[in-house]
């Protein structure tokens, strides 16, 4: 027991007495909390600029343009005389799409023929493309439905029958969670978990490279260190995953107990993983660079932003060894989707499994180090 307490105190001292570790584990968390969300503060993409090329110049084409312009997603900010001119505006990134209304648009409508319009959306940016397509497609579909209904009514069909014939069902799409499709709401909860993991890995691995060899039974030593991490992150984790998102106005549906119960194996697995990283790379400077480079790959491997369905299975298997993979999935489901512990039990057990795996490796390393140390002393 005394070994346990000594190891716990030594670990806490290792964290707080070392300026660099303090900088990483505490200061960096604050700085990242300020810098990381900066690009996403606007949350929603509204009024994406689109160029209008109206070759018809009639009342109908003007009505169509007005309806597209009125949509929330896009705004017709530029007009051009032809496609060449319009494309140039898109090249300059002043607009992200071109709405082309061909000559004879109104005439074809009046004759009861199909009267197509063309939409060119900049597909080099995924979100822009989606918004432009959405913004134009909805008013177009609406106007099309109105035209069809008008024709049916003109033929003598009753209005409600006409409506039912134009669109036989009303298709409703309900986004569960993040209903406004906010980008910050989408990406930040996962990013915060990753930041927590990366700073913890870096800081605790540095502590591991710098500490003197522990005296006492390896199991008690390790438990003492784990106690130190738990004590520290029992404060930091709720601050980072509950208070910080609340400051940014992100929704939180999570049960605090579920968060803490899932957070515990995450912290322990990450701390133990840090010991393995330290044993593998040994030098503090190298560890920092390697972990810095691994941040983005860890994020994309976690299957959050890039769906796990698209990740090749062997890479996905390796990704399961990184605590953030299960932690991001589990914690995001708990805080953003209100999942119960039972619903994230796979993530929970996976994290405990990692604790067992990394714990065994660290114990083996510690025991070996102690034995080698002993032999050296005997030889000396």
């Amino acid at each position: 027991m005394s070994v346990f307490i000594a190891a716990l105190r030594a670990e806490l001292r290792g964290i707080f007495a070392d300026r660099q570790v303090r900088l990483i584990i505490l200061a960096a968390l604050v700085i990242y909390a300020l810098v990381y969300p900066l690009p996403y503060r606007a949350e929603l993409l509204r009024d994406v600029p689109v160029v209008l090329v109206d070759l018809d110049r009639t009342t109908s084409s003007a009505t169509l343009a007005r309806q597209v312009d009125a949509s929330e997603a896009v705004a017709l900010t530029h007009t051009a005389l032809d496609m060449g001119q319009a494309t140039r505006i898109v090249h300059e990134r002043a607009a992200y799409g071109v709405l082309l209304i061909p000559e004879g648009f109104e005439r074809a409508l009046l004759r009861g023929q199909q009267s197509p319009v063309a939409l060119y959306a900049d597909a080099s940016y995924f979100l822009m493309y989606q918004r432009v397509m959405q913004g134009a497609a909805v008013p177009l579909r609406q106007m099309g439905a109105e035209v069809e209904m008008g024709r049916l009514i003109a033929q003598g069909t009753a209005q409600d029958v006409a409506l039912a014939q134009v669109s036989p069902v009303s298709q409703i799409e309900v986004p569960l969670f993040n209903p406004a499709a906010g980008y910050a709401t989408y990406v930040l909860p996962a990013a915060f978990v990753l930041i927590l993991q990366q700073t913890m890995l870096m800081g605790l691995a540095l502590v591991a490279t710098r500490r003197a060899r522990g005296v006492g039974h390896p199991v008690w030593l390790l438990l003492g260190r784990m106690g130190a991490w738990t004590a520290l992150y029992a404060l930091v984790l709720p601050l980072y995953l509950v208070v910080l998102p609340a400051l940014y106005g992100l929704p939180n549906l999570g049960n605090p107990w579920a968060l803490l119960l899932l957070g515990l194996p995450f912290v322990l697995a990450t701390g133990l993983f840090a010991q393995c990283v330290a044993a593998l790379f040994r030098q503090g400077d190298v560890i920092q660079v390697v972990l810095l480079a691994l941040g983005l790959p860890f994020f994309f491997l976690s299957g959050f932003a890039w769906p796990v369905e698209a990740i090749p299975s062997h890479l996905n298997a390796i990704a399961q060894l990184v605590p953030s993979t299960a932690a991001i999935d589990g914690l995001v489901r708990v805080t953003q989707m209100g999942a119960t512990l039972q619903e994230v039990s796979v993530a929970l057990w996976q994290l405990w499994g990692l604790v067992g795996l990394f714990g065994a490796i660290v114990l083996y390393l510690e025991t070996r180090a102690q034995r080698i140390g002993m032999q050296k002393r005997v030889v000396a």
Partner: protein
């Protein structure tokens, strides 16, 4: 200076830490990232169907859903509660609700509701699922609407015209294959290289200029602080340009990402990009004279840089402060240049702007490093 450069190359070969950081680490990253995105656009995402109608039509819709590449019907849920729980636990990414009496109500003209629920917290997957489901239901219903009109005696062609008076001809400008995958990859590689190049340059400099080292030897060998520093930096410029070139060969050659623009413009941009990034690392080190603190500065600048590049959430929609912060990071301009020259075939006079920006950033950083070096030389002379 040449002697310092040659010495540096020998150092890279001899020191496992250095070789690991500048050669092995970037190559491993290339492999991992290439592996993640190799499979392309995700398909077959799990979907639950809550079919309370159990009619020919509802089975038709289910079949259509299964035939859609984006989704795959993996679960039949008995209630919305069950479907919701499946979504929350991650077993499926969405659910489609076909109410009781669907087919009957359609025939009566009652316009029943078909509801698609999707997980928009995982937005990238969720929106794909929603799109797939919408298309499948549309296809199933278009068939129905056509057959209704045909039943009223309209000819097929006429019926198709009447059901869609204003068809939208959607065209993709620039990226007809919708190749987001390789596009993402083409941006992620420079982002990670930016992190590694800045940190590795700082590390290499720390090996000679760090505490407890003897920069005097190196300075004497090169004949001045500036040539000594250049000799330390330039070998890594070559190494990183080689790695960038290698990744480009993989991207444009092997993965067939289109390259429609000027090779020389891309190459010039790449040189300024690598130099600029290295100078960030150099400046961080000569300012702090401590690798730990330098690494923290580099981390704050380069680690969140991906978000500021605007690949997910576009730059133009960001707050001015975020746009400005993105504008001083070399990677932002280099990635823009790559997109311009590979996908968009942007005319030269527009695309030269990011290159000028990159040159400006590298120039300013160079000036700042020089200022620090002048002070460093004084300190060294005082020490010697």
């Amino acid at each position: 200076m040449l002697r310092v450069m040659l010495r540096e190359f020998r150092l890279i070969l001899r020191s496992p830490a250095l070789a690991g950081l500048v050669v092995v680490l970037p190559l491993v990253m290339l492999l991992v990232l290439g592996g993640i995105f190799r499979a392309g656009i995700p398909t077959g995402m799990a979907l639950a169907v809550v079919d309370l109608d159990r009619s020919a039509l509802s089975r038709d819709i289910t079949r259509m859903l299964d035939a859609t590449p984006e989704v795959q019907v993996t679960h039949q849920a008995l209630s919305l509660t069950e479907a919701r729980s499946l979504i929350v636990s991650g077993a499926v990414r969405g659910a489609i609700y076909l109410p009781q009496g669907l087919e009957r109500d359609i025939i009566r003209g009652d316009r029943p509701e078909v509801v698609t629920f999707y997980d928009n917290q995982h937005m990238s997957a969720g929106s794909l699922v929603a799109r797939g489901a919408r298309n499948a239901v549309d296809t199933a219903l278009a068939g129905l609407r056509l057959s209704v009109r045909q039943g009223q005696g309209e000819a097929t062609v006429q019926a198709r015209v009447s059901t869609q008076p204003i068809p939208l001809q959607a065209h993709a400008l620039f990226n007809p294959a919708f190749d987001y995958v390789h596009f993402l990859l083409a941006a992620l590689i420079p982002t990670i290289l930016q992190i590694i190049a800045a940190a590795a340059t700082a590390y290499a400099i720390s090996l000679d200029f760090g505490p407890g080292r003897h920069p005097q030897v190196l300075v004497r060998m090169a004949g001045g602080v500036l040539p000594a520093m250049l000799g330390k930096i330039l070998p890594y410029t070559l190494v990183f340009l080689l790695i960038l070139g290698l990744s480009d060969i993989a991207l444009y050659g092997w993965l067939d990402v289109p390259l429609r623009g000027s090779f020389w413009l891309m190459a010039t941009g790449a040189v300024f990009f690598v130099l600029g990034v290295q100078l960030i690392g150099a400046l961080a080190f000569v300012t702090t004279r401590d690798m730990g603190r330098a690494a923290s500065i580099i981390a704050v600048i380069t680690a969140p840089a991906f978000g500021f590049m605007g690949l997910g959430f576009p730059r133009e929609a960001m707050a001015p402060l975020a746009q400005a912060w993105g504008a001083v990071i070399p990677g932002t301009w280099y990635v823009q240049l790559r997109i311009d020259q590979s996908l968009r075939a942007t005319p030269f006079e527009i695309s030269v702007m990011p290159v000028l920006w990159l040159a400006t950033i590298a120039g300013v950083l160079c000036l700042l490093v020089l200022l620090r070096l002048i002070r460093l030389r004084r300190a060294l002379e005082a020490g010697a």
